[in-house]
């Protein structure tokens, strides 16, 4: 084999593999979204927000902790707003350095989330107002969690991610069980199963990435 220029060849096959690994590690931090920043903020928002909803508005009108009426929803929406900012920032950072197919996929997927929830937000009030207070909350929460689950499953098809499909399917299952169990229980299931599931997935994917990039 004749070198094509003065760029020295690696000294051994082991050095070649080391250079390959170094190149991949350097790029991976740009290519892959940080799973802790992607999943954990959403997981914590659901864990805390729906957890407070359960404590304040428990099953059959039970109040486990006397919190101000406004606190659970304000906490949930504030934490979700922070999670949205976190997702937008890390997606934009990636988009600055990568062009091509995945850039388009990311933009389309982001807009799909926005449009999906614009649809939920604009159609739900028309029907929610016809229901008693507890069922109204359950309808909002279950349709929102169901939409989120579907978006994750759609995301799995775009990003070829089995983890995202498992997450979406898991959220669908706990959402259905929660709706059957009724108001209050649904909040508990979404808090522990949904929020906890999102946190767990973020940590597992992060640990897996750490091992792969070692």
């Amino acid at each position: 084999m004749k070198p094509v220029d003065d760029d020295a060849p690696p000294g051994s096959p082991a050095e070649s593999l080391e250079l390959i690994q170094r190149g991949r590690v350097a790029a991976a931090r740009t290519v892959a979204l940080n799973p802790l920043l992607y999943y954990l903020p959403w997981g914590l928002a659901w864990l805390i927000g729906f957890g407070l909803l359960f404590l304040r508005y428990g099953p059959h009108g039970r109040v486990f902790v006397r919190l101000p009426d406004w606190l659970p929803l304000v906490s949930l929406f504030s934490l979700m707003a922070l999670a949205m900012v976190s997702t937008a920032v890390i997606s934009a950072q990636r988009g600055r350095h990568i062009e091509g197919r995945s850039s388009w996929q990311g933009s389309a997927y982001g807009f799909a989330w926005f449009l999906a929830f614009a649809g939920v937000g604009s159609t739900m009030p028309r029907f929610a107002d016809l229901l008693p207070e507890p069922e109204r909350g359950l309808l909002w929460a279950s349709v929102s969690v169901g939409t989120t689950a579907v978006m994750y499953m759609a995301g799995s098809a775009i990003w070829m991610s089995r983890d995202m499909f498992v997450l979406g399917a898991w959220l669908t299952v706990i959402n259905i069980i929660g709706v059957y169990a009724g108001p209050g229980w649904h909040s508990l299931l979404v808090s522990v199963g949904g929020g906890g599931g999102l946190c767990l997935l973020g940590i597992v994917v992060w640990l897996r990435m750490k091992v792969a990039l070692r």
Partner: protein, 100 residues
């Protein structure tokens, strides 16, 4: 190490190919970012990208983001195959397949 692709079997180009192989199909990385993560000078990176482009392994695209011109590079299908073949050949040298 006589059968290895001489275009890829060079330290700088191997690192470039490895970094670009982490991208998805039809994706490209911007030139300044590639330069930054590989810690190479612009001139050096440019020279090696040109060599890889001439071999048909890398596609360099120029576009505009707003009014700012950007250059980006990604592997071609041929480049990805060549890189996979190279990696397999190196692994085989380290751990030769056992004779039946």
């Amino acid at each position: 190490m006589t059968d290895l692709d001489p275009v890829i079997h060079a330290q700088a180009r191997l690192r470039i190919m490895a970094a670009l192989s982490s991208l998805g199909d039809d994706d490209r990385m911007t030139f300044p970012h590639l330069q930054q993560i590989l810690d190479m000078t612009a001139g050096n990176l440019s020279v090696h990208l040109t060599k890889l482009e001439q071999a048909g392994y890398v596609e360099v695209a120029k576009s505009f983001r707003g009014r700012t011109p950007t250059t980006s590079a990604g592997l071609t299908r041929r480049g990805r195959v060549a890189f996979d073949d190279y990696t397999a050949a190196v692994r085989a040298l380290i751990d030769p397949p056992k004779e039946p």
